[in-house]
Symmetry: C2
Subunit: 205 residues, 2 copies
């Protein structure tokens, strides 16, 4: 227990130090003129200095960009909607069999985002039981640029999403060891810092 | 020792299973017509079925896409050059003080890639000692779309690269806990699978 407390204290202290470091750095950098730097579609590197934390955007758990127009994450909740709006998604690929929550369906409807659901039961590694035909159909949706920008997500953005992304990497001729490195980076991810979200990141709504 | 051996065997077995799973899946999916799916610039989701492993591309250690036109990785070596060529880079941001190797300089020259070097000594967390003015200058280069596509790299793609990407995320108004989650995903990455690269991924040159 003592060690846990100590660890958490150190972690918080480190967060504070890093936060101060980042904020000091950002404060100066944000004076750079970004007018010609971020056209909405061509480059979504939108840089908007935030006056306070309560304006921060909260990406879904395990969020990452996979390739141009392709994103991955864990299950998005209402706290992530403001962030997801910045992606200008055309579609979402949802890899769980459970029905999509009303709140998420409402968000998709109001933002004109198409939902592709491929119900894959929850498996951990080895994922030899993931149905090939389902992954195949999901890959067709991922590869069709008419669906881009697209967000691929399951529950935690680890195994089902990682399997689909891994198949995409193989199509992109990625070396298998690199495919597994990327898979492991997300599958092994601990959400330790996110557990403390309430301390530094109130939802924007 | 016995346990290590057993673990490695299981890992290899899992790799084999996963490899078979992926290859079976890919074999069918790669019959989809991709002609209109991958214009070289707008969407680099280049899908080229690979007849054999020796045509595989090898991304640098810890490679990932940060945002449109922005990539991150560990130090690229000659085995990664074929992959890096697919990114059509305009520039590279190199965050170590050590001089860039001749082989890498030659690759940059022959591919018209501009090198921005910001010599930051190797630090682990907490990275309070990373010089603010250097990070500030590096961020200006990252944010200037005239340098895109750009690859940010240090030695292992963990701490120095992670600090610069973390500052970018703060400018993008990412919630701090998500910034730290992303930082940790790379800082904590073990290259276990890559250690076995020789077994499944010969360099393409």
């Amino acid at each position: 227990m003592k060690e846990d407390t100590k660890t958490k204290l150190n972690q918080n202290q480190h967060q504070q130090e890093s936060q101060q470091q980042m904020c000091r750095t950002i404060q100066v950098v944000s004076t750079v003129d970004h007018v010609d730097m971020s056209p909405p579609v061509a480059s979504p590197v939108v840089v908007v200095p935030s006056p306070s934390d309560d304006l921060n955007l909260i990406p879904p758990l395990n969020f990452a960009m996979v390739d141009n127009g392709i994103f991955r994450s864990g299950f998005p909740d209402s706290a992530n909607f403001s962030f997801i709006q910045t992606l200008n998604l055309r579609s979402i690929i949802y890899l769980c069999p459970e029905p999509y929550p009303d709140a998420n369906n409402g968000f998709l409807k109001s933002n004109g985002i198409k939902l592709f659901q491929f119900g894959i039961e929850s498996y951990k590694e080895p994922f030899v039981n993931i149905p090939e035909d389902t992954i195949r159909e999901a890959l067709k949706v991922v590869l069709d640029v008419r669906n881009h920008p697209v967000l691929i997500h399951c529950k935690r953005g680890k195994h089902r999403t990682g399997c689909l992304v891994g198949c995409l990497r193989k199509l992109q001729r990625w070396c298998l060891s690199s495919v597994f490195d990327e898979y492991q980076r997300f599958a092994a991810a601990k959400a330790r810092v996110s557990d403390q979200r309430g301390e530094c990141c109130p939802a924007s709504e």
